[in-house]
Amino acid sequence: MVNAIAVVRTRSLFAVAMLSGAFSLLSALLFVTLDAVDVAFTEAAVGGGISTVLLLGTLALTTRFERHAEHSPFLPLFVVIVTGAAIIYGTLDMPNFGDPSAPVHQHVGPDYLARSPHEIGVPNVVTAILASYRGYDTMGETAVVFAAGIGVMVLLSGLRRRRRRDGSIEDREEDG
């Protein structure tokens, strides 16, 4: 939480990138305490590792500092407070934290827990569901990642070539 506020205040984008990495690691710790070890692994590797590297790469290709905001922060603050109040009003109907009789724990979840030992035979239930019961989801996920990879390649391809060409155009204008 403190980390998040620091991100709001900091103007140096390098520090923002580092803080977002630290934020990911802290949330990974939180996932471990909430019994989600697989999610914690992924969050630490993806959020703390790959995401930080990507941010740093972007900073290297762009700029490092943020300019002062021109308009006042009151309208966004108002919008955010109203949205937050609406969400908190919505949580009032939620079951208590850790309640075993919550609706989440009534249908498919326990079913998977009961059936995966003899149907799949993998000790890790998360893996069993991910690769077997919800295999189509995982396939769709790989499709999304593939599409995103292609998008990044198309956007960034010829970056160096364009940069060199732009440089030569500017040089020519200076000569003329």
């Binding site: 909430l34 955010v80 979840g109």
Partner: protein, 144 residues
């Protein structure tokens, strides 16, 4: 107002904290002009949604949903709900893919406009539009 007992408040504190975190992310996205910072705010928003889901899957006294290696399952052990974990695993990977795409777009925008500040980009666009209106307006029969 009699529902606001102490157990109720403690049981819902996690949702409220995650909402606060989510709103911090939303505030960064809405109020800050820097595009890289917007992406970081979006990530923060996303992570707080993940936390919300994972906290719903937690059972008091439960443990991680991994069976012993010899598959001799003790019926007394309570496991947390594995289904939110699976969904969030997928969401994290999709999230990093969208982040990568957004950052690539930022690099491309910087190449085109030489800035990654939203206000400056809008200013440049406005100048471009007025110039084009001045240039082509007379040909189309408009203008003064």
């Amino acid at each position: 107002m009699d529902q606001f007992t102490l157990p109720f408040i403690i049981g819902h504190l996690n949702y409220w904290l995650f909402t606060l975190l989510m709103m911090t992310g939303l505030y960064i996205v809405v109020a800050k002009g820097n595009l890289v910072k917007k992406i970081v705010g979006l990530n923060m928003f996303q992570t707080s949604v993940f936390m919300l889901y994972i906290s719903m899957g937690k059972v008091t006294g439960g443990t991680a949903p991994i069976f012993p290696i010899d598959m001799q399952i003790d019926p007394d052990v309570v496991y947390s709900n594995p289904l939110p974990h699976v969904l969030i695993l997928t969401a994290i990977v999709v999230g990093i893919a969208t982040t990568a795409l957004g950052l690539a777009l930022i690099v491309r925008i910087r190449e085109e406009y030489h800035t990654i500040e939203e206000g400056l980009i809008q200013k440049i666009e406005l100048e471009k539009a007025t110039r084009e209106i001045r240039e082509f307006g007379e040909v189309m029969g408009g203008g003064e």
